[in-house]
Amino acid sequence: MINLEMTQKMIDVKSGMNNMATGMLRPISRYYDENEHKYPQELDMFRSIKIMSRPKKKKAGEETKPDKPDSKKLGANLSMVIVIEEMCWGDLGLLLSLPNAGLGNAAIAAVATDEQMERFGDKWASMAITEPGSGSDSGSITARATLDGDEWVLNGEKIFVTCAERSEVAVIWATVDRSAGKAGIKSFVVEKGRPGFKLEKLEHKLGVRASDTGTYVLDDCRIPKDNILGSAEIKESTEGFKGAMKTFDNTRPLVASMALGVTRAALDFTREKIEESGIKLDYGKNPNNLSAVEKEFYMMEANLEAMRLLTWRAAWMMDNGEFNNLEASMAKAKAGRYGTLIVQKCCELLGPLGFSCENLAEKWIRDIKITDIFEGTGQIQHLIVARNVLGYSSKQLK
């Protein structure tokens, strides 16, 4: 049944997280922006939350209850996008620094065997896909893994790795056979400290400075044979690669909800200043009879609502076991782009308050930009949406 009004449970999750963001993240937001790469120790208390993990599997013999479709129950993904929006309303850089909540943890949770889950499930895992010559085209990566006896030998360079320094293990994407193209791409768990593995450098970024983005160099780095995630076999089809890309259907709504949080932070601050100036926002007048500031504000608020509904739909579909490749990309495309535009506009409306480091708005305009870039740029999302609605393959629409 259609009902897009928040339930009491959703409101409770939201307000609980908002208190946390207000009390814990906002006060340290500026500090860790200015102290780039310094680990926010305050976040240690979140180590047990495991945002990107999966529930422990029941022991053999124990019956697992099939999930009953229950509209009254708050699904895990819908709950997660609400949590992330609130935390990013607090601070996006700090959210990205949450222990044990790396994208690598999501990849491990998605495909690891029970044995691997035992070994890596409690470790903070970063995800290393991007290379200097391979960004959106992740099928073209050149890092390679060669089987030598009971070990894989890894060589290559990985850039833009989130949580590069703080993570305990890294999920490295590498090809076992370049001639096999995408079918040859596999992911491997590398424990920090193995010989041949090096954190080469940490980046200095436009925003989300609390997050340690870095470069890994793998030089004949040896890892056990069973550190490969998924099958080592090169199949005719590219199902394995597609499976890895499917992880993004799950994580894109999360990234979209990051955009919601930062955008709302900027919008809330702008509303506060507008109201302090004596303008009453009452949602009644014909837009033609509003001041430019009011009209801009309402339009931004409407766009935020649109971003949120697209995001919640994608998350809700996951909770209901529906394939959401199209809807996840719609959410990310809209939220990344409009979030960026809205925060830019907020800073403009705020005038000097939007340019000064006395306030957080100038930080948000830097932070929000990443949401239209990582987990697939806005352009990649548009490609995915277009291919879906046109019924085109990646060959038909390049």
């Binding site: 049944m1 259609i2 009902n3 897009l4 009004e5 928040m6 339930t7 009491q8 449970k9 959703m10 229950d70 509209s71 009254k72 708050l74 819908l78 949602y283 009644g284 007048k285 014909n286 837009p287 033609n288 009879n289 309402y298 339009m299 608020e301 409407a302 766009n303 609502e305 649109a306 971003m307 509904l309 697209l310 919640w312 739909r313 809700w316 579909m317 209901n320 809807e327 719609m330 495309a333 809209k334 352009q379 999302q381 548009h382 490609l383 949406v385 277009a386 291919r387 609605v389 046109l390 085109y392 038909q396 629409l397 390049k398």
Partner: protein, 369 residues
């Protein structure tokens, strides 16, 4: 707070109504009657009757007043309006026009008003009754009207000008919004009231097929009994919320029609040896149209959800209409652009969607949920 769950899925009842309306619209659109009606500037009465026969409007009216007594649902009404508007916006407004009159009296009228007026229009046969909100002036605002109602003994005297009054000539009664001592009220006026003059049929940018008229009231006397809600007056805020959600639903339908037509065209149209859809310049426009149509629909449903729960949807309905107004124009513009020169020719419906699309932001009170 009552917990109704949260979800994006249509109930069985909702999806069966959606399919029924969609099928009906599809069967009527074969042979391009939406285009023909637009060119002839005349809606097919047969099509209006068929839509009316579905009973969407009167199903939610209690049996005492001639309806079927089903539960009132703004969400269901939004779904129906989108489907109708995806076929033709003029038809969507005309075929559901009595709803605005009927629902308003049902939900805000006095017992006497309900008994007197509802049975007239809650009939298995379509009978027109209309609503006059818009005024022909710069800076028109539905929340501060220039049409005035002045109280006198046992009656009100109305003065002012209205425009875009759909089907005024055929309507038995008009619901007229006027400023009554600083508060907006709605008045039920018989179309043959001597103080009310229905002018020459208007010519507008869009909605060629929908007859609409200017209406002038000069010392138009209305019995005090015919002020909606009697002494209490009406809840004009709520009236506006319902009509704003309706316009967003219609905007969603028009935009969807433009999106679907442009999408299919772009796959067929070959230039430089390949379909134009295989170029990003076109494909990205199509992607944007796709998610904006969905966003508009979700905004509409969100506002309708609040209303359906019996809560105040002032903010949600305002934002939904603002969004739909802006996005419908953008999407229908993209629709014409993707067809290029062919989009400018009236044979292709995207030019009609573009003309009609401008109405979403401008028009107030032409439909309701």
């Amino acid at each position: 707070m009552e917990d109704r769950g949260f979800g994006f899925n249509l109930s069985e009842e909702q999806s069966s109504m959606k399919d029924t309306v969609a099928k009906l619209i599809k069967s009527m659109v074969t042979g391009n009657p939406a285009h023909d009606m637009d060119e002839e500037r005349k809606l097919s009465r047969e099509i209006i009757d068929k839509v009316w026969e579905l009973g969407a409007t009167i199903s939610m009216i209690p049996e005492d007043y001639g309806g079927y007594g089903m539960e009132y649902s703004p969400i269901m009404n939004s779904i129906i309006l989108e489907e109708l508007a995806a076929g033709d916006m003029a038809l969507a407004i005309a075929a559901t026009l009595p709803s605005t009159f009927i629902y308003t009296i049902l939900q805000m009228g006095t017992e006497e008003q309900k008994k007197k007026y509802l049975p007239l229009y809650c009939d298995p046969a379509y009978k027109a009754c209309t609503v006059a909100i818009n005024e022909p002036r710069f800076k028109f605002d539905a929340v501060s009207l220039e049409t005035k109602a002045e109280k006198s003994v046992g009656k009100y005297v109305l003065n002012g000008k209205k425009c875009f009054v759909p089907m005024a000539k055929d309507s038995g009664h008009l619901l007229v919004a006027a400023n009554d001592n600083g508060k907006t009220e709605l008045f039920i006026i018989e179309s043959n009231n001597p103080g009310l003059k229905i002018g020459e049929r208007e010519k507008n940018l869009g909605l060629y097929a929908l007859e609409s008229y200017p209406v002038v009231m000069e010392n138009c006397e209305v019995s005090a009994d015919d002020r909606v809600g009697g002494d209490k007056g009406c809840d004009y805020d709520r009236f506006l919320q319902k009509t704003r959600i309706a316009m967003s639903a219609i905007g969603t339908g028009v935009s969807r029609a433009s999106f679907e037509y442009a999408r299919d065209y772009a796959k067929e149209r070959v230039q430089f040896g390949e379909p134009i859809a295989s170029r990003q310049a076109i494909a990205f426009l199509i992607a944007e149209m796709a998610y904006e149509v969905d966003a508009m629909r979700l905004m509409t449903w969100k506002a309708a959800s609040v209303l359906e729960a019996g809560r105040d949807a002032k903010r949600e309905s305002y934002l939904a209409k603002l969004y739909a107004g802006e996005m419908t124009m953008k999407i229908t513009d993209y629709g014409v652009q993707i067809l290029g020169g062919h989009g400018y020719i009236r044979e292709n419906p995207v030019e009609r969607y573009y003309r009609n699309g401008r109405g979403i932001a401008i028009l107030e009170g032409m439909a309701t949920v």
